[in-house]
């Protein structure tokens, strides 16, 4: 538990990290470092995307599973690490 907190703090202090969101498997944010509105928006949108991505991967091969998802955009990069029950979303701007 403490390790989780510590790791999250470390991640937060990394170079260019703009925000961290943890959402559960239904898309409800559990922990976030962004403001409420952005959190809710990210959570809803990304949850659907991850579900779709996971479904895609597993449809092709049911023994496979999604481990990491990265969306690189012009301004930043959204990284999503899906767990069985939780999703960790980190938004980073790597050029900072």
């Amino acid at each position: 538990m403490a390790e989780v907190e510590e790791t999250l703090k470390r991640i937060q202090s990394q170079n260019g990290v703009q925000g961290i969101i943890i959402i559960n498997s239904e898309g409800i944010p559990i922990k976030t470092t962004l403001d409420n509105a952005s959190t809710v928006q990210y959570a809803g949108l990304i949850h659907q995307l991850v579900m779709k991505a996971r479904s895609t991967v597993r449809d092709i091969d049911p023994q496979n599973d999604l481990t990491f998802l990265r969306i690189r955009s012009k301004k930043n990069e959204i990284m999503i690490a899906p767990d069985k029950d939780y999703f960790l979303i980190v938004i980073q701007n790597p050029s900072d």
């Binding site: 538990m1 989780v4 943890i22 239904e26 809803g44 049911p62 029950d85 939780y86 980073q92 050029s95």
Partner: protein
Amino acid sequence: MATSAHNKAPRMPGEERPSSRTTTISVSGIHGAHQSTRDTNSIIGFPSRKHFRVGGGSKVLEKSALQTPRQVVRVFDEEDNDVTPQPLYQAHPAAPHAKSCRLFLDEISAGSASDQTTATGSFTMPFSRSMFGSSRISSQSTIESLNEEIEDTFSKWEMPISFPDVQGKRNTVKEHVAKDMLKEVTDVYISEADSISLLDIPSTLMSVEADDTEVIMEKNNQYAELCRTRMGNNKYVDRAVQTLNGAAKNKQVQSDSNVMVDSATTVTSWDIYDALIRPEQHEEVSSREQEGAEYPGAAVDPNSGAERSASVGSTASTASTASAASSLNDGEALGSSLNTESDLQLNVLSETFQHCLLVMERSILRNTLQPELAAYRQLPVIEESQVKPGTVEKRQEDTESPRSPAVERLWAFSYERSRGRSVSSMAWNKINPDFLAVGYGELGSSEQKAGLVCCWCLTNPTWPEWDVQCDSAVTSLDFSSINPSQLAVGMRDGTIAVYKVNSQHNVSCVLSSSQCPNRHLNPVWQLRWTQQELNLTGDEMGESLFSVAADGRISRWFICSSGLDCTDLMKLKKIQHTKKKAGGTRTESVLSALTPGLCLDFHPTDSSVYLVGTWEGLIHKCSCSNNEQFLETYRKHFCPVNSIKWSPLSPGVFLSCSSDWTIQLWQQDHQNPVMGFSSTQTAVCAVDWSPKWPTVFGAIHEGQLEIWDLSSSILDPVLVQPAAAGVQMKSLLFATQTDCVLVGDSDGQVTVYQLKNLRAGGSSQVDLLEGLICSASQNSFKKYTQM
């Protein structure tokens, strides 16, 4: 009527009336029945409808066109039995046949039979005759009149059914005939058959002058009167009977309609896979999530709580857009209570979440360190589009510059705990070239400071994978090659501990030599795991740990019941040039006659031969099989030998460095070094061969890193990298698969430098080295100059 009937009546019994003429053989029975019914009708006072039923056959007679063989009186059934109807008068009441319609005939016949008796009994002959006659006429008329009635009621009655055969099976004959009819045109001859008398009751005649004439006459008259007045007689009243129908009452019942709920689900192929393959894991998850859902406190909307607990266990993607939206709304509403929930839920996720965090952290760092990591991996560096123009120019400069060797600093491993500690030793993991174990410990200071062992992964230079605090300063490290998760750590107080990485952050000390009575009591300067093929007794052995310590002993460690135990492989005895006792060399004086050994290296191919560098500056080549004597002694240094390294690519060549500011290159056959290198007047702390280039090695002075390339220059190092201000470099390690060098310094940082543009060598370089050595050794005594 009756009198007129009388006039018409007299006929011979047996004669037929034209209207009642029945013609066919098959019908003759009908005639008989017909006639009988007629008679019964006349006698019986009350007409019973069922008897009249038979009369309807007359109409049917017209319809049916049957073959009439002429003058066939005899009736045969299927079995050729003579079933010619006998006079009914003599016939027995027809044996009951299966056909129900025969019942009527039976009744008729029975009735007729009974009537016969009554007829004969009650009436005198003449009267009966007249009755018959009248009956005939009347029955005729009645039959005719009744025909309409009968037709109404039994219009459908067909003759074949209504006139069953009296004695035979006429139906089948009927059908047979009908089938024949279909095939051919038949000529129908209608002729009068002979009359068959079925009932012959002659009229009784009596004289008018008889005694009871008047009575009989009276009766006759009465009867005639009755018949005549029957129609409009008041005695007979038609009466209708009606059953009362009760008043209908409507009652309505209405039931609640079943509530129908549509539920749909989208099932994907992996849902099916999950359901089939991993049901037990789902149970675990669902049970865990049930507990997790119970945690939210009173602030949680129970509706959302139920949603969460209900749908968490399943992976089927039900149409959940609505629920997702609602849950988002709930999420907004629950903004205040997020924190309390998060603490509770993090309890649940800490176990499975670590991996996610790890991956995420590495990914983030990879983003920031992407160019450096790519350079390390010797991959082309991806230029980002948003790089500022200034940096672009700078990079272009670098690429355009001529290929001169350069050292580029990539990154440094360092974290908060390691700052301030001096790096004492580093070791690569034997299996995974990305893992690096670093031991921290102050060597020079007198105070005992706790040591630290960290295992770093290349992908995360900001936080080690695991770290272990040790009791005393760490002086040496080595990874085992058989068990790559085992790390042997030697410490300043002489303890050797073996750590094993159990899981992600779980490192446990598996073995320790702290209990061993033979343990070192002085700093363990070097540890080596080595594969031994044969031990002393000739058995095959696995890997064993060798250590050299400041108490002058070289020990081999093995695992015993209480931890590690060692056997001494060699004792480093002080060899005094001047004074050498003629006697035994193993005199043990109070003062230990052993000299501290500082470094140890096993021959890369022959694992039983090793080199030891001592405090005195001597280098001994020893063998595992010989405990007593050194194979060879190399004398050159006069200060402690800090490091000895065999060349991994050139056999039989090794380097040694010492605090006398020199590095010596030796060839194992020669007592004197082949070449010596010196650059600055500072002690050389460590030296290491490059694993890729046979002629390249690195050396660390306290203030700088030097890279020597013997193919280019044997006098000066090719590259010199000064240390950062205020920091002393302490240890050196070449990366195994890339051209990078790791340097540990006194501030706890392990810096990764990339060597660029060194002219890469191949096997030709080995020959070059050999050539150099040969040429140098020939002139060794002449060319060699000692600093």
